[in-house]
């Protein structure tokens, strides 16, 4: 393999790892842009990954083999929304502490998903391996282009979907009246309230969107890589997605960039192990690589954080 081929494949694998992170990161972004911290992304991903596995399984059994992954994808986002609703009701309506509720979502989602898995699959801690999951789409002609074809045009459908979503999110956030209002609500809710914008409504939308998107993120992992759901299908990706939101400065393009960076750091460890010289290096150092790289970049990337102004504060118009 020449260097360009390797790079092409590196990007290809990077995108596989990144897709779920981008979905989830965008979810976190919408929630946080509305002013609600979502530490529960991990749990929302778990619920999505679980729902995708079960619903796809049922769809396959019901004979919808080809469309099953898509049905699973939709089901996962609905499931994510349900969990996010719990978050929204308690943090927005009942003004509960957002961090605490996020942690609760993580505990509950994992508990419920595995409990249900065991109930549905005869005590088994994991779902059956799905016979129909997403396959990579090779875009005709484009995928034949050297380097670029391998890098960008042989990807899972979810990757194409997420790229589209990044662009849409950017437009929604910065070009539409919805985005302007959402950002105002996250930045300074009483500014929105005093011009007649419902803070509650926009925060609900933000949090529920995060459920839908994180659900898709979890589903992506089930439907493109693991082909089933188990207790450790999601192990930390939700937290990495939070890191991507912060690292990406609450901007869809930034979040996508950060997620791709994390994906790249994951991918590179597999490539590194291909080389002869790598056999001399203890494997643990390869495992550390993504995290150390991230830290190094974070330390290098100084600059004021651009967190939404009201992040984490319940909105109470009576509070002084």
């Amino acid at each position: 393999m020449n260097a360009l081929e390797i790079l092409g494949q590196l990007i290809n694998v990077t995108l596989v790892f990144s897709t779920a992170l981008i979905f989830t990161g965008l979810g976190g972004l919408f929630s946080e842009r509305s002013g609600v911290i979502n530490i529960g992304l991990e749990g929302l991903m778990v619920s999505g990954a679980f729902a995708a596995a079960v619903i796809t399984d049922y769809a396959i059994q019901a004979g919808y083999e080809e469309s099953a992954p898509w049905i699973g994808l939709v089901g996962a986002s609905i499931f994510g929304v349900l969990f996010a609703l719990l978050h929204a009701v308690s943090t927005i309506t009942f003004k509960a502490d957002q961090t605490i509720v996020g942690v609760v979502i993580n505990i509950l989602a994992a508990g419920i998903a595995i409990y249900l898995t065991k109930s549905l699959y005869e005590g088994s801690g994991q779902t059956t391996t799905l016979t129909h999951v997403f396959n990579k789409w090779e875009i005709p002609y484009l995928s034949d282009i050297p380097f670029f074809g391998e890098a960008f045009f042989k990807a899972y459908p979810t990757t194409y979907v997420v790229i589209l979503l990044v662009i849409i999110s950017y437009i929604v956030l910065y070009k539409t009246h919805f985005g302007l209002r959402l950002r105002a609500v996250g930045e300074y809710p009483s500014s929105a309230d005093t011009v007649g914008i419902s803070v509650t409504k926009y925060r609900y939308i933000g949090v529920l969107l995060s459920g839908a998107l994180a659900g898709l993120g979890g589903a992506t992992i089930t439907l493109t890589t693991t082909s089933n759901f188990a207790h450790n299908t999601i192990s930390g990706q939700g937290f990495i997605a939070i890191a991507a939101v912060i690292f990406g400065k609450w901007n869809p393009l930034g979040v996508a960039g950060a997620a791709i960076f994390f994906g790249f750091a994951q991918a590179i460890r597999n490539f590194a192990q291909l080389f002869e010289w790598s056999q001399q290096i203890p494997t643990e150092f390869f495992y550390m690589l993504p995290y150390v790289l991230t830290l190094v970049v974070l330390v290098g990337a100084v600059g004021r954080s651009a967190a939404p102004g009201s992040l984490g504060e319940p909105y109470d118009p009576a509070k002084r």
Partner: protein, 336 residues
């Protein structure tokens, strides 16, 4: 097949599936002595598609054949292993299995404190008069699948995907490497230890990189992570690429199909558990025994049917098998 909703069995109570039916064993026909045999898994859990699952299948067979009551407890962490073993002891189980090398210390202690209880351990050895220890010469079986890989590859590039880089995995790699080199000294072997046993996504990425690099046969010894290797191979096979996976522990063609499963390196956990447990039921139990089961015991090796392996290769495999059994060929246990 999943999807069917059942209410029982979550804790693995087998003969007496649900609590309400706890009188059931009394009613079933006696077949030898009806005993209570327990089993504690490691964190992988009973459905790890690997040795915990094999072990449980062995016990289920015991129940089916003898009507004995069997039950398992899953350990959520290393710290649970000891209380879980003791839970069976205090419930007066006749024998308790610990599945996995991590049980060594816990079982040593529990066995010492409860000399009247009987125990069995897989993949490790405990020196106590009331424990039977069962180990497998995984290097021997791995040598044989190495031979298959070495002779099957067209690209002369072969891959090994491991879970964690620990002796119970590296022993496979050692045997495998030796097997490949014995028949195909020019073959290049890539290795990738993913660091995890339960993450198919990592296995899948590792496999993708290897297949991209031209590897056409991968031996996976990575538990759930290995499922990812199969997933990747299946996708590539569908796309028309000619790639293979060699499974581990069980005949994985049953789950992943013959299209991608070249063969599997069986580890007879199920048989061993069945054997030792029925020995107990039939009064032939020998406490303190520690066995290493290898090719000669039929406890490791290839499955009976190998539709993807040619006659010629099978012949070679058989040759090496005999050499190993006879002792004229000693398979290394450590990667050089």
């Amino acid at each position: 097949g999943g999807g069917s909703k059942t209410n029982n069995g979550a804790s693995g109570t087998n003969a007496s599936a649900s609590p309400e039916a706890s009188a059931a064993p009394e009613e079933s026909a006696a077949a030898g002595a009806k005993l209570k045999i327990g089993m504690v898994t490691d964190v992988g859990g009973v459905n790890d598609k690997s040795f915990n699952q094999s072990a449980w299948e062995g016990l289920q067979k015991v129940t089916k054949d003898t009507g004995s009551e069997t039950k398992y407890l899953e350990s959520k962490g290393d710290a649970d292993m000891e209380p879980n073993l003791r839970a069976f002891v205090s419930e007066k189980y006749d024998m308790t299995w610990g599945v996995g090398f991590l049980f060594q210390d816990a079982m040593g202690k529990v066995a010492k404190d409860n000399p009247d209880s009987k125990f069995g351990i897989i993949d490790s050895a405990v020196d106590a008069p009331n424990v039977v220890s069962v180990n497998f010469a995984a290097n021997e079986g791995s040598f044989l699948v190495g031979v298959v890989a070495g002779l099957t590859t067209k690209s002369n590039k072969i891959g090994f995907v491991g879970g964690m880089e620990i002796p119970s995995v590296t022993v496979f790699e050692a045997g495998f490497n030796a097997g490949v080199k014995a028949v195909n000294p020019d073959a290049k072997i890539s290795r990738n230890y993913t660091g995890e046993f339960g993450k198919p996504d990592l296995g899948k990425a590792a496999a993708a990189v290897m297949y991209n690099d031209g590897v056409d046969v991968i031996f996976q010894v990575a538990g759930g992570t290995g499922n990812g290797v199969f997933n990747e191979a299946t996708a590539r096979k569908k796309a028309g690429q000619d790639v293979w996976v060699i499974g581990v522990d069980k005949d994985q063609s049953i789950e992943f199909g013959n299209e991608v499963t070249l063969t599997s390196m069986l580890k007879g956990v199920e048989a061993a558990i069945y054997q030792v447990s029925t020995d107990l039921i039939n009064g032939k139990w020998e406490g303190g025994k520690s066995v290493v089961l290898g090719l000669k015991d039929g406890a490791v090796g290839l499955p009976e049917n190998n539709p993807n392996i040619s006659e010629d290769i099978m012949k070679k495999v058989e040759e090496y098998k005999q050499q190993i059994i006879s002792g004229s060929l000693v398979v290394p246990t450590e990667v050089k």
